[in-house]
Assembly symmetry: D3
Homo-oligomer: 131 residues x 6
């Protein structure tokens, strides 16, 4: 009754391989990260998650490095160690410099602080902010 | 034993007024938001928080609109209603368009989802992501 | 199929009344808060929760006002509006002054900030802190 | 001033042994998990927590496997590594199959995503949902 | 620069109407909830979110009422007021009785408590739970 | 493009050394913890964070051990492993006994539980608690 192992490409079903191939092609990497190998235990979730991530993280009005930094800020707020590691790497690859990282952490930390000050002081929303 | 009221400028001590004046000048606004009026119950926290926010949110390697969007993504993740209202307004003022908002929410939502998939599948950090 | 209403003393079963009576006696209040009236929809949860809260919040090595302030700090961190309101009142009743409240919020805010800085910088635990 | 060690059965006080014995008997296991050995540092918390868990997790209107899956979904949302490990095992023992696990993670992930979309879009509660 | 209003069916683009129609048909309801009307400000996110929710919440190895209860437990843990309201209604519609609700809340509350006890006591994962 | 290493005193810039020296002097320790060595990658954040922590954690209306226990309760609630380790040590150093630790965890756990019960039962704030 042990946990099923992650799925390596060599052992993947054709349906999983289609997703792995698309990840590798889209990202220009030789292999997919552990995240996808573990999700592959459930091919439906693997496919849906990848297609959603691909759509959401594509270049749009926001630059890819901005999207990756937002992803990292959320992961840091939630304390997800895996996600912090993978999105730090992804943000760096997309162009995040050490200075940008420092500023990102500063903003993320400050937001977490003032969120609680607003909660604790029970600050009512200003009329001009309601719209 | 009721909660002390927020501090309006007219009733503020000189020390609080100095902070209020700097907020108004820095942001080019005629009055400060409720957040600052409530924090003014504790002048030390008011001063320290404003000076930190001012330093952290200043233009740097990251554009102000990016910083405001990160602030919003964190506030949305934490579910702080006041902060969501105030930083949505601030991000719009700094240049966030409706399309940028849509993408920001999409990334924030997706990050919150995959953070939990990584937790639940207990994905170990890839060796290449450890550095 | 609407949500069942909260239980007022007049409409409570004998089993619920025993709990309500003990809350009123222990706290020296004429009526119980909404929290207990809503929990009374499930008498098992009402009874278990009250007995646990009564045991945990009793005077021990920690002073009651310290316990109430910790309760408030957790509620602020989680953003539970009801709990922030009720435990702010409880902490004030137990002796929390405005100055103590200000310091409590300052510590709570700072902890939420540095928690994320530690996450984001992926700080490994110092050997001397591992024991 | 190092952290006190967990309490093994051989070293446990009679009061702790009573709880350990009840856990072992109720669950049909030869030894208790680390969680209980660490809680045993505080016999009051050990006893109260076990009695609460025993009452809450007993078969009721909800099947034990459903309760364990809910426990796991909460632990995944909070990112508690120990709890994810122990409740994944408990849910499997109670009958959670790999397919059920996959669906549970999919729902948990989606809920975490849409929670933030609802926050970010500041969706007001529909009148029909207020009751 | 005020926030765009939610999209009512009468004002929706053909692309949004296709999604609204599918929600109404799938759920057998005369109108969609506010959540979807607000998401409709971003048709891509509306479409992707609905298709994901539809796939994830469909009957599978888990009964729909179980899925709705898990959704509710996560929303309660995160403190998302809108989601708590909408998924309480959805779970009731799917068959959650008042007794089941009481048990669900009891498990959700207990999991949130023991998650923190495990964190605070820094309980290491038992070898038998690592697989 | 690997992550920059933490900054040891021997390799620190004069600006960083000033902060490190003040931490060591204020706390009476021979070296700073990893937290500060990692933050030193961004001297602005290092300086601002230290000055804020120093101000917030100084003796005031609340005793230092109370402040450290609040810090620990927040860190436990957020699940920040590094912060739990460092603030458990700091609280012990400031006078937290094993009994106090046990009570602190009990309150922290209970608050996390009742926060969710209040959320799930959608308890409205009592009129007397609104002020």
């Amino acid at each position: 009754m042990s946990t099923p192992p992650p799925i390596e490409y060599a052992d993947a079903s054709p349906r999983v391989r289609v997703v792995f191939d698309d990840i590798k092609k889209t990202r220009g990497v030789p292999d997919v990260n552990n995240f996808w190998k573990y999700l592959a235990r459930d091919p439906d979730t693997l496919k849906r998650t990848w297609e959603s991530v691909k759509e959401v993280m594509a270049r749009g009005a926001l630059d890819p490095v901005v999207k990756e930094m937002v992803y990292l800020a959320v992961s840091v707020t939630n304390g997800c160690a895996y996600c912090i590691a993978s999105h730090t790497a992804a943000a760096r690859k997309a162009g995040m410099t050490e200075t940008m990282f420092g500023e990102l952490m500063a903003v993320t930390g400050m937001a977490n602080e003032t969120n609680r000050l607003a909660n604790g002081y029970r600050v009512p929303i200003d009329d001009v902010l309601k719209g």
